[in-house]
């Protein structure tokens, strides 16, 4: 039973089959769509005449032999009786459970809590709805200067919209990639005509029936037709509650991605993958963490498929190493105007950040060190050099 039919769920099902699992596979998805690739939602899907077919993952149904139940949310898990109950009321028994429910956008609440004119971006339907409202000259306020906020700023600016970005931090991305990197990204956005309102928040919305503007914490009023909230996301884990599963900031797992109980024991048949999995470091004595990067659902899904196949038939999975710990190398990228960022590792762990190659203002690579060890790299351009440094990262 795989709960969540996005990329992670799909890759888990594929991994199960490729590692020899021959039981039944059910994939339950809250969205009505088969799995699709989300990164284009903030870029091509808004900018070009693209449809779901352009971003859908290819699925080899003959090989996969999986039962997709879409447009259905899992409401509750009953771990003691090994079943889940769907929004339709249907119950499914399982021998193994993979939790792959991912994230949802965080929503703000304002005194004048208007609904019309407000958008967020997580799903294909979100992107379609936003795209239908866009036109050159539209005034757009984006709340949040993280990757999604900045990618949206770039895409919509390129489409001819007028963009104001509001964010509480002093420098975009500084918490992730450091002040210098973040400032460099901001500067390039400003050069393209994006206006920033940093160290500000939105305290209220202006308008009667739909959003006509926003009121900032410094008293500024920004008129707009479109408000996009890009203020992070929340793990979809409510359905797991009531089972003594450790659910503080995602689903806590052990080194094999088996879900853990509040009392610290692992459930042998229950796994969590992707954005919701809070998994331990394999070598560092730091608290377990969630990682919201695109490659984590893939890596964790492949891992879990093999774990389950091995558990079902010990010795049957090629190159399966008993006692191995899940230890992925996080990677992420982001395209904003002509700025393309590529990063590996966990720059947030660093106590030191230094320019490794190139120069700020042009193409460059920053290295992130913790106690002298390279824990992350990030570059604008210089792809091959960034890719070469990937192998030197120690997590």
């Amino acid at each position: 039973m795989i709960v969540g039919a996005s990329m992670g769920g799909l890759r888990a099902a594929e991994s199960l089959r490729r590692s020899g699992f021959d039981g039944q596979i059910n994939l339950i998805g809250a969205e009505p769509h088969l799995p699709y690739n989300r990164p284009p939602l903030s870029k091509d899907l808004l900018a070009k005449d693209k449809t779901l077919a352009d971003i859908a993952f290819p699925i080899h149904h003959g090989e996969l032999q999986a039962n997709f139940v879409l447009g259905n949310r899992v409401e509750t898990l009953n771990l003691e009786e090994s079943h889940v109950e769907l929004s339709s009321g249907a119950k499914y028994q399982f021998d193994y459970l993979v939790a792959a429910t991912g994230l949802r956008s965080r929503q703000m609440s304002f005194p004048n809590n208007l609904g019309r004119g407000r958008y967020s971006l997580r799903t294909y339907d979100d992107a379609r709805s936003l795209r239908d409202s866009l036109a050159p000259g539209k005034r757009v306020v984006i709340l949040g200067a993280g990757f999604i906020g900045l990618e949206l700023a770039a895409t919509l600016r390129t489409l001819g919209c007028l963009i104001d970005v509001v964010a509480v931090e002093a420098i975009p991305l500084a918490a992730i990639l450091g002040n210098e990197f973040g400032d460099e990204v901001r500067r390039r956005h400003v050069n393209e005509g994006v206006r920033f309102h940093l160290e500000r928040s939105i305290v209220d919305l202006i308008g009667t029936r739909e959003v006509e503007g926003v009121l900032l914490s410094d008293g500024t009023e920004l008129p707009c037709e479109i408000l996009i909230e890009a203020v992070g996301s929340l793990p979809n884990i409510e359905w797991l509650s009531g089972n003594e599963i450790e659910l503080s900031n995602g689903v806590l797992t052990d080194q094999t991605l088996r879900v853990m109980s509040e009392s610290g024991t692992s459930y042998q048949h229950v796994f969590a993958i992707g954005d919701i999995a809070r998994f331990p470091y394999s070598t560092r004595s730091l608290p377990a963490r969630r990682i919201e990067h695109w490659n984590i659902p893939i890596e964790s899904a492949k891992w879990v498929g093999r774990q389950i196949s091995h558990h079902e038939k010990p010795g049957s999975v090629l190159e399966f190493k008993q006692g191995e710990r899940f230890n992925p190398l996080p990677s992420f990228w982001s395209d904003q105007f002509s700025v393309s960022i590529l990063s590996y590792g966990e720059p947030t762990l660093a106590d030191e950040c230094l320019l490794i190659e190139g120069e700020l203002g042009n193409e460059f690579i920053m290295g992130y060190r913790r106690a002298g060890e390279l824990v992350g790299v990030a570059g604008i351009g210089m792809r091959r050099e960034v890719n070469k440094l990937r192998g030197e990262i120690r997590l």
């Binding site: 890759r11 690739n37 990164p39 284009p40 971003i55 993952f57 290819p58 695109w294 490659n295 893939i298 990677s331 990228w333 395209d335 393309s340 590529l342 351009g381 210089m382 792809r383 091959r384 890719n387 990937r390």
Partner: protein, 63 residues
Amino acid sequence: MIRVYVDLSKCQHYGQCVFEAPNIFKLNDEDKLEYAATADDSELLNVREAIDVCPMQAIKLVD
């Protein structure tokens, strides 16, 4: 023999495929992707991995 196709209008040259199938994919001196359109069957699993990790989902196996 397997046949590989990359939609270069989608490809953003991140080079993730290079790590999975270094015999098939490489970034050239200008950081642009180059690839072998045909390969031995033994590369099939590597190419499948490359397809999965491509952020732009630009790689295909051609039947």
